[in-house]
Subunit: 438 residues, 4 copies
Amino acid sequence: MDKLKVVTIGGGSSYTPELIEGFIKRYEEFPLTELWLVDIEKGREKLEIVGALAKRMVEEANLPIKVVLSYDRREALVDADYVTTQMRIGLLEARIKDERIPLKHGIIGQETNGAGGMFKAFRTIPVILDIVKDIQELCPNAWLINFTNPAGMVTEAVLRYTNFKRVIGLCNVPFGLKHNIATQLDVDMNDVTLEISGVNHHIYVTNAYVKGESVLDKVIEKQIESSEEALQMNNFTAQSYSPSFIKGLGYLPCPYHNYYYFTKEQLETELEEYKEGRVRGEVVKKLEDELFELYKDLELRVKPPQLEKRGGAHYSDAACSLINSIHNNKQDIQYVNVRNNGAISNISSDSAVEIACVITKDGPKPITVGELDPRINGSIQNIKSFERMVCEAAITGNRELAIYALSANPLCPSATIAEVVVDELLEAHKEYLPQFNK
Amino acid sequence: MDKLKVVTIGGGSSYTPELIEGFIKRYEEFPLTELWLVDIEKGREKLEIVGALAKRMVEEANLPIKVVLSYDRREALVDADYVTTQMRIGLLEARIKDERIPLKHGIIGQETNGAGGMFKAFRTIPVILDIVKDIQELCPNAWLINFTNPAGMVTEAVLRYTNFKRVIGLCNVPFGLKHNIATQLDVDMNDVTLEISGVNHHIYVTNAYVKGESVLDKVIEKQIESSEEALQMNNFTAQSYSPSFIKGLGYLPCPYHNYYYFTKEQLETELEEYKEGRVRGEVVKKLEDELFELYKDLELRVKPPQLEKRGGAHYSDAACSLINSIHNNKQDIQYVNVRNNGAISNISSDSAVEIACVITKDGPKPITVGELDPRINGSIQNIKSFERMVCEAAITGNRELAIYALSANPLCPSATIAEVVVDELLEAHKEYLPQFNK
Amino acid sequence: MDKLKVVTIGGGSSYTPELIEGFIKRYEEFPLTELWLVDIEKGREKLEIVGALAKRMVEEANLPIKVVLSYDRREALVDADYVTTQMRIGLLEARIKDERIPLKHGIIGQETNGAGGMFKAFRTIPVILDIVKDIQELCPNAWLINFTNPAGMVTEAVLRYTNFKRVIGLCNVPFGLKHNIATQLDVDMNDVTLEISGVNHHIYVTNAYVKGESVLDKVIEKQIESSEEALQMNNFTAQSYSPSFIKGLGYLPCPYHNYYYFTKEQLETELEEYKEGRVRGEVVKKLEDELFELYKDLELRVKPPQLEKRGGAHYSDAACSLINSIHNNKQDIQYVNVRNNGAISNISSDSAVEIACVITKDGPKPITVGELDPRINGSIQNIKSFERMVCEAAITGNRELAIYALSANPLCPSATIAEVVVDELLEAHKEYLPQFNK
Amino acid sequence: MDKLKVVTIGGGSSYTPELIEGFIKRYEEFPLTELWLVDIEKGREKLEIVGALAKRMVEEANLPIKVVLSYDRREALVDADYVTTQMRIGLLEARIKDERIPLKHGIIGQETNGAGGMFKAFRTIPVILDIVKDIQELCPNAWLINFTNPAGMVTEAVLRYTNFKRVIGLCNVPFGLKHNIATQLDVDMNDVTLEISGVNHHIYVTNAYVKGESVLDKVIEKQIESSEEALQMNNFTAQSYSPSFIKGLGYLPCPYHNYYYFTKEQLETELEEYKEGRVRGEVVKKLEDELFELYKDLELRVKPPQLEKRGGAHYSDAACSLINSIHNNKQDIQYVNVRNNGAISNISSDSAVEIACVITKDGPKPITVGELDPRINGSIQNIKSFERMVCEAAITGNRELAIYALSANPLCPSATIAEVVVDELLEAHKEYLPQFNK
C-alpha cells in the first residue's frame, strides 16, 4: 500500500472530528495511511482530547489509518502529500477582542472582511508564510489546503508574496449556497452546479444549473418567495432581502452580504450581543467548551451531531472532498480560492478570487467568468482592494496603511473611528504582531 | 470675421455671469460672435434677468458678441460650435427634495453620487439624450461641454447610450485641487499639473508636479500639516484627515471623499441642517435669490464677487478654458470626464472616467494611468459601478435596479432604507420621471 | 419517446456516413428520433446516394431513427434541437480554384487561414448568417455546431455579427492531437486532457495531462525523438521539426503550423502538386468520387473504412461526441471554438478562440488560459487579426480590405501578389460573392 | 552656472557631430556644461577624430561647453544628468555579418527586427544592462536615452530585466514620418502631431493632425497619389504600396514595413546587393570611412551636410530635442519607446511600445491608444513577441529559443533555415556572446 500522508496544522481544532469523518467516508477512494495532527504546545490539552477521539473514530471504522499527534511542525511536514491549515493564532480569546473592540467604538468587528478579519489576517499571514517556507523545503509537491480565515486574504498573501503555487483557499459558503439551492428547488445536490463570482465571503451566485440547465430565474423566484432560506447560515441571523432588491440585483448574494446590505441592522444586533457578552466569539467559545467536554467521553467514537451547528460546518467535509478530487483527478466542479489568472477580466491576474474550478490532479482550473456586471463589480472590487491592503500591511507592519484600509472598509463609517480601533487592536494583539513592533 | 457660436442650455442659471466673464477675458483668443442663452418657459424670469446682465457685461467690455435669449432649443442649436449644458431639471426645489427625503430616513442625500445624485441623474439623463439627438441633427460637429451634475453619470450615459463622441464632462473639483495645491506650495498655478485617477467627484490626486517635477511627497506633507486646506470647498465643511490616514493612503483625496471617509460625521452635520431647514439646497436657494436680486441692478455691469462663494465657482471659467483650448489646439493638460479607452486598465474601456487629458482641437486625449492601486481601486470601482447602474435605471426606468443600486451605495447602510427612500423620491419627482411611470 | 431532432445542412457530404455511425454508436445515451439531411438542389444526386446509405445504416443498426432528406432548409429547421453545418459553397471545384490560383502566383492557397480560406469564408459566411437568421426564427433554442471550414472565421462571424449565442465551432485537429499524444505515450485516450491555446487551425498544446498529471515534458521529449508523429494528419505531409525548435518553443504546435514554420518547403511541395494537377482539392475530389461510388453499393450498410483516410476524419465523430455531451450535461473537457470572454487575456473578449471547455447542457464553459506566452502570442494574434479582417470583408464586400488582409497574411510574401490573387479569385468565384459585386 | 552634464556612450560614432550640433542649437534653453564622449579602447582612433571635431564645433559656436573624451565609462557617469547610448558592439564588421550570413541562406538579415536585429540585441543587451547597473550606482537620477538599435528590444530589456525606470528608447522613424507628412501636406512640421501605434521600427500612423485637426484622410489620399514619398528613408528603397492596399489598411505604415509587406521584392534586392558586396552594412562602412576622412579635416568646424544622407539622420537631433523637452518640462508630444502601462490595451503593461507621449520633466507620459485595430494588431503583436523572445534569449543565452524565435519571425520562411542561420551567427559573433558559451 502506497504512503498517503495528510498533515493538519491546528489539529487541536474542534472541527477535526469532521475531518476525520470525511477521510473515513472516502477511505475507499482516498486510502489515507497517515494523518498527522499538529498543534503548538499551548494547545496540547485540546490536541490530546481531539487526537484521542480521532483515534477512536478510526478504530471504530476499522481502518489502517495511523493518527499521529505532533508538536513539531517540521517533523510532521516531511513528505506530506496534503497539508491543511485550520489554526487560530491567539485562540478564541483573540477573536473575542477582534469583535468586542470594534463594537466598543460602534462598528462591526466582522471576523473575515472587517476590522476583526484584518487583525486575524495580521496574526495569521506571517505564520502561513512560515509554513509555506517549510513546505517548500520539506514537501514541495504537497498541496496546501487552507481553511483558516480570512481564507481569501491568506490565499492572496501566499500567491502574491511567495512563489509557491500549490495553495488553495477553501470556504464552506459556496457549499452552503449549493446545498440550500438544492433544497429550495428540491433537487439532488449533486445535480447542482453554480457560477460563482467574487472573493472569499463576498461571492454572488451569478448562475445556477440543475443537470446543466440554467435555473437562475427559479432560484431568484424562490429567493423572493422566501428570502432568507438560501442565505441562512448557522453563525448569524439572516436579514430579509425584499423582492425588489433581489430583482434589482438579479443574482443571489451570499450570507455574508448581510453585513454590507444591512450594515445598520447587523450593527444593532451585534451591539445588543456586545452588551450581553455574547458576541459570536463568546458564543463559539461556549460551544467549543461544550464540544470538548463531549469529545472527552471515551464512549464517543464518531463525530457528534452537535458539531454541525457550527458556522464552519461542512468546512472539513469540503476539504476532504477537494483533496479527494485532486487525488483522483475527478474533474468535478468545486468553488475555491485560486489565482485569478484573468478568469475575472477586471481583477488583477495575480489576485486570489473565489470561483468555480474544474478540480484536477494538477490543481483547480478556473472556469472563465469574464467582466463583472456593475451590479456586483463595485462591492467585489471594494473587498478585493481591502484584502490586498491588509495583506500588504500584514507583511510590512504598516500601521498607517492598516488605518487607511479600515477607513476605506464598507463597515467603517469614519476614519476617526478607524484609527482608534486599529490602535486599540494593535495594542490588544501585540504579542502576535511582531511585524508592527519594529 | 468668422462665425463662432456658443449655445448655453440652462442659460438662466445664476452661474451664467461667470461664463460671460470667461468669454470676455478670452475674447482675443476666442472671438465669440454669438452666445445663445437657452432656457425653458418656466425659467423665463431668470433668463431675462441674467440675459440682461450678460448684455450689459458685453457692452461694458465693448465687444461685438451677440447675446441671444431663446426658449427654442432647436432654433438655438443650428450650426453651434460649442454647446454647454448647465440646466437643473426641477430647479432647486427638486434638489431640496433630493436632500431632505433621504435625511428624513437617516441617510445622506448627496447630490452627486448618493440618493440625490441618483435622482438628479434620473431627471437629467433623458433630457441630455434628447439634446444629443438635436445636436446630432443640427450641429453634429459641435462639442458638448456638460457641467450639469452628476457630470460623471451624464457623460457615461451619453457615451454608453448614444453614438455621439464629442461630449466632455466638466467639473470644478480638479481645478480647485490644483488651485489649493499651488497655494499650499506657494507656486504659480500654471506651473502645476496633476495626475488624477477616478470618476467624477471621486478622484484622487495620485501625483502632482511643479514644472514637471513630482512634488507628491511635499503635497502629502503639507496635507498632513494642515489637513483641510487642499480639500476645502465652498459647499461643505471639510473634515480633518489624520496624518496616519494620509500617510496610509499616500495620495490626496478630493473634497467629496469626506462623504465616504467621514460618513458618520457628515451625516450628523447634515441631520442638524435638516432639522434647521438649511440643507445645502435650501442654502443655495437663498444664495441664488440674493444673486438674482443683485443681477437685477441695472448698474451692475460685471460679474459680482458674491458668485465666487458658490460651490460651483470656477465651473464656468473651467468651461471657457476648456473650450478655448479645444478651439486653439492648446495641447495643455486639463482634467475632464471622457471615455476611458483603456487609460485606467481595470475600468471598462467604454466607461467615463475623470483623468488628465491633453486638450486638442480633436478633443481630449487621455494620458495613460495604468492599473489602479488597491488603495483607491475599491472606492473608485464602487462609485463607477453605482454610476453605471444609475444610468441603466435612468434609461430603462427600472425601479428595482434603482433600489438595488442605492442599497449598494456606500452612503446607504441598509437595503430597507434604500427601498423606502427610492420609492418616496420616485413619488416626489414623479412629473420629471416619465420613464418610471410606464 | 421524446422528439430529438438533428438537422445537418450539407447533408450530401461524403462525411455524412461518419455522422450516422456516430449517432448509431451513441443511441443509448442520445436517442435521436429524426435526422434531417438538407442540401441544395444542385446537390440532389449526392444527397440521394448518401441519404440511401444513411437509411441502410440505421436499418442495419435496427434503430427507430427517422432519416429525412430535404431540399427546403426552413422546413427542416422547424423545432430542431441541434443543427450541424458541413456544407461547401461552390463544391470542390471552388476549393480547387482557391488552391490553384494562389499557387499560379507562387503563394500557398491554404484552405483555412490563407488565400483559399479567405475566399471560402467569403462564400460561406453570408450563407451561415442566413442560416442563423432561420434558426433564430424556427428553432431558437437549438445549438448550431459548425464544422464547415474555416470554422474559426465562421464562428467569429456568427459571434460578432449576430446576437445568436448558441454556436460552437468544431474541428478535428484537437481530437487528432489528443489521439496522437495518447498513442505516443501509450495511454488510453480517455485519460488524456489538454490545455489548448489559439484559434482554429492555429493552436498550440500548452499542457497535456494523463489522469490529471502534467506530461508536457514527456510529450516534448517524444516529439523530439520522433518529430512528426504527433503532428501527422491525413491531409498533408508533416515537416520535421528539429529538437532545437521544439525545445525553444516548449509546447506542441499543431499540424497546420507546418504552413507557417516551413512555408518555403510547403510551397515547394505544393508547386509540385500544382504542376501535376494534384493539389489537395483535386486529390479530395478523386477520393470523393471513389467514396460516392462505394456509397452507391446497396450492399454497403455501414461506414466504409476508406472514409477514415480523409483529412476530415473524426470530424463527425467529434460533432456527435460534442452533441452528446451537451445533451447529457457530461461536463467533460472538449476543445471547441467559442467566445473568448477573457479566457485568453490579451485577445478581445468578443472574439472566437479554440480552447479547452467544460461541455455542459448550457454550452461550453471555457477554462481560463491567462495571458499568452510570447512564444505563441505573436502567431496566434496574427491569425486572429487576419480572421477578423476576413470576417469584416466577407460581410461588407470590401475588396481593399481583402487585399490588405492577404498582404498581411504570413503565407503571402508580397502585397503586389496579394492584389493580383485577390482580384483573380474575386473574378473566379463571382457567382458566390454577391457582396463584392455591389 | 549650474552643472549640466551629458554622457554619450559610443561617443566615437559618426553621428556624434549631429549631436553636438543639436546641443549647440539648443544652448540657450539647455545650457550644457559638460559633454563626455565615452568609447572603448578599440575605438580610440575614431573617438579622437570625432572628439576633435566636436571641440572645434563648440569653439566655433563660442560656447562654454566642456567636451571630455574618456575611455572609462564609470568615471564619466559620475553625476551625469543625461546618458545617451549609441554604441555598436562589434562595429560595422558585426553588422555586415548580421546581414550577409542570413542572405547567404536566402533570408533577409534586417538589422532591427530580423536575424540581424536579433544578434545585435544579443551583443548589445548585456552591455546595456551593465551600463544601467553603473547608472544606478553613479548617477541614479539621470535619464538614459538609448538610440542604439534595436532600440525597441534594448528598451524592453531594461524595463523588464532591471528595476531602472528612467530609460527612453528613441528612434528617428516617427520624426521622419512627421517630417514627410508635413512636406506632403505643405504645412509647418511644428503644426503636425501624430497618433502612433506599435513597437520600434514597426509603427503605424493611426491618426495625423494639423493644428489639432485630423488630416488622416488627406494623408491617406496623398499616400495613394504618390505612394512612396511619406515612407521614404535614406537607408532603403521604398516599395510602392498600391492604392487598394493603403485604402484597405486605412493607416500609414512606416518605412520598415516594406520588409513585411514586400518581403519577396526586398529579398530580391538584397540578394543582388549581397552578390555585389554592397549590403547595407558595407555601404554604411564606406560612408563612415568617408565621413571620418571629412572629420579629420581641421578646417571643418560644423556638422558636414553629408551626414544627413545616413539612415540614422535626425536621430541625434531627436535625442537633443527629447532631452531639451525633459529638461524644460515642455509638455510637447514626442514619439518614444516607453513602458506601455496599459496605453495599448492588448499588449502587456510591462512591455515597451513606441507611441505618442507628453514629454515632461518626470519623463514621457503615454497618451492612451486603446485596443489595436485588427488591421495592425497582428503584425505589431508578432514583432512584439519576437522582441520579447530575443530579450529573454539575450539574457539567458538560450540557443534553442533563438532558433525558435527566428523560425517565428515573419522574414524567415523556414525553421530549417532559422537553425542554420542562428548557429552560423552564434559562431561568427562568438567573442561578443559570452552568455551563449556557458
